[in-house]
Symmetry: C2
DNA sequence: CTGAAAGCGCTTACAG
DNA sequence: CTGAAAGCGCTTACAG
């Protein structure tokens, strides 16, 4: 094959002895009437010449890129998996997905990535609840590119077409109830405030659960990140009263780190400490004791987000109906429940 | 801002009262002489109109997309992080990175993704050692798009411009020496044959280390994936003789799973079992005991891969020299050493 | 059923 | 220092 000029429809037109318009029609299987013979000739020529459509040219003339943009906080853990599922889902519907990591929750990087994506003329944008201000966001996407949020709360309707959110609040409420049921007498939430709203939602559920539990059960909120885990474990030992201690961690990794530090200090899990994570990460069942956690339905979330986008793009026929069954719709927010996976780390004693 | 037609250089040209050629020159900061006043006018107009360059149009006329393609086996663990670093690195040099997950090692998906990427006219391609045949690969990339491999061994020179490989063989050799030094009398490698060549390279190092250790030390190779870990632990107990057992796992996650199953069976780590992982994954130091592992220099590997690509693209001035210091060059392969991180899981007893 | 032509939004010699 | 013009590789009415 030619080393430096790729095959174009002009080459095919010549080889097949037809016009480029016809080549385009055949190759795109358009619904205009065409002679069998013509179709055959064009397809043969395309095949033989090793033709590969130039996406840029097609997008430019069609005025639609069939490219979607996705910004996630990072590729590690939950968001990496989510990005992978989103890419695959978009692909299934004929869209390319350009994924960017915003390096945690860095507003500048968010802005740069959004800008790059818009320069690429993506047809739509998926973002987590951004760290940058809503005003900045509004200004940036004011050209009309549809924006769908995932795990973004309290965003004005005029910015985003909708939000597909994991119900961390509801999940954490269930988590606390579970811990109380298993006999915990003190409760700790190990949060990560730099995760912004996804942390606040967890906190909300935790607080509600603690309130439900009543005065007989103490509850505290700690920040997981700055200090060493060993220190955190010590704090919980001092603060807790008699009876088993319940730990609700920001995610499974925080849970694992806490559990390891606790075991290192000679504490017994689940007898003295009951530990609860979030994400059903592969680590949650790769350790001992295995960690009780909330399962996140990635594929469902991705499917719902993409459906929402397809509707914005006027491709309603591609968007499914049935996917919303499990989810709660509330205004322009779709809320996805998490499933409690009980494991040894919170067994009753 | 207009809801449905984005602003183009034609709009700017009108607003500034100059030609579109001039607008293009100013906005691209080309080295042609231009009047101060013109530059000011154009930049002002662009700013005010909220101009955003259309990347597709620019790429099409420039005949260069400034887009690179990356295919990884998946986003989980090592390759997810690698993808993130690659994206960032490419970005730093003015390239966009389109990342695809090949869903493990699925040759069909590899083919489809390669095709999509070439339709997008990416300037270059990064792939892991592909599962598809080299002939298929050769045919697909025969149009001259440069291909750089990472963790791909034994690929013919005519296909790939080069390969940037982690030295799993050397690392595993060191791992075995370490285990022997710490007193292990039996050695097991827990492999993952579906990881293809990255598994074989590890195996090679393990075998070499075992051979070095001599007849006094038994060594075995087991497959980590099919059977439950508890079963695997039992097998090692039966097969091993007296003295501490050394386990070299495919990666940190396999190591953690094995360790957890061993502890569950009442075995003591590191007294009876010494466990060695690979990747310096965050889990390796989030568990107890923390796991001895090989650290992978992601950024270095990404930087070297991108440098290689930049050279292929004739952008030698962007490519650095100094990054190869740490790496070994051998033919068209660059080999990157891994660093042993000793932790409690292999402490001498 | 097929093709000539305009147009998508840029870049790049080249002429002035 | 600036602009007219050709061209990148397609798609899309529209005329025939």
């Amino acid at each position: 094959m030619s080393k430096h000029r790729s095959v174009t429809i002009v080459d095919i037109a010549e080889a097949a002895g037809v016009s480029i318009a016809t080549v385009s029609n055949v190759l795109n299987r358009r619904k205009v009437p065409m002679a069998e013979e013509t179709i055959r000739k064009v397809e043969k020529a395309a095949e033989e010449l090793g033709y590969r459509r130039n996406v840029m040219a097609a997008s430019l003339s069609r005025k639609k890129s069939y490219e979607l943009g996705l910004i996630v906080p990072g590729f590690i853990g939950y968001y990496g998996l989510f990005a992978e599922v989103m890419e695959r889902t978009a692909h299934r519907f004929g869209y390319h997905m350009s994924v960017f990591s915003a390096g945690g929750y860095d507003p500048d990087m968010e802005k740069r990535h959004l800008d790059v994506l818009l320069q690429r003329r993506v047809d739509g944008l998926f973002c987590h609840g951004l760290a940058m201000s809503t005003d900045t966001t509004r200004h940036i996407v004011s050209d009309g590119t549809p924006l769908v949020l995932f795990n973004g709360w309290n965003w004005p309707q005029d910015i985003a077409a909708g939000a597909v959110n994991l119900d961390f609040a509801g999940g954490c409420l269930e988590a606390v109830r579970h811990l109380v049921r298993q006999g915990c007498r003190s409760l700790f939430y190990l949060g990560r405030s730099r995760a912004h709203e996804t942390n606040k939602q967890r906190l909300k559920g935790f607080r509600q659960g603690a309130a439900e539990a009543g005065d007989g059960i103490r509850s505290y909120v700690l920040e997981a990140d700055p200090q060493p885990m060993a220190e955190l474990v010590r704090m919980t030992r001092e603060m807790s009263g008699d009876g088993p201690v319940g730990i609700l961690a920001f995610d499974d990794l925080v849970a694992l780190r806490f559990m390891s530090a606790a075991i290192e200090q000679g504490l017994r899990v689940p007898e003295e400490y009951k530990i609860f994570g979030i994400n059903n990460d592969v680590v949650s069942h790769s350790c001992y004791p295995q960690i009780t956690t909330l399962d996140i339905p990635y594929s469902q979330q991705a499917r719902l987000a993409v459906d929402l986008m397809l509707r914005q793009l006027g491709e309603d026929e591609k968007a499914g109906e049935e996917h919303e069954r499990q989810a709660l719709r509330e205004g322009h927010e779709i809320r996805i429940p998490l499933t409690l996976i009980p494991r040894l780390s919170t067994a009753a004693t």
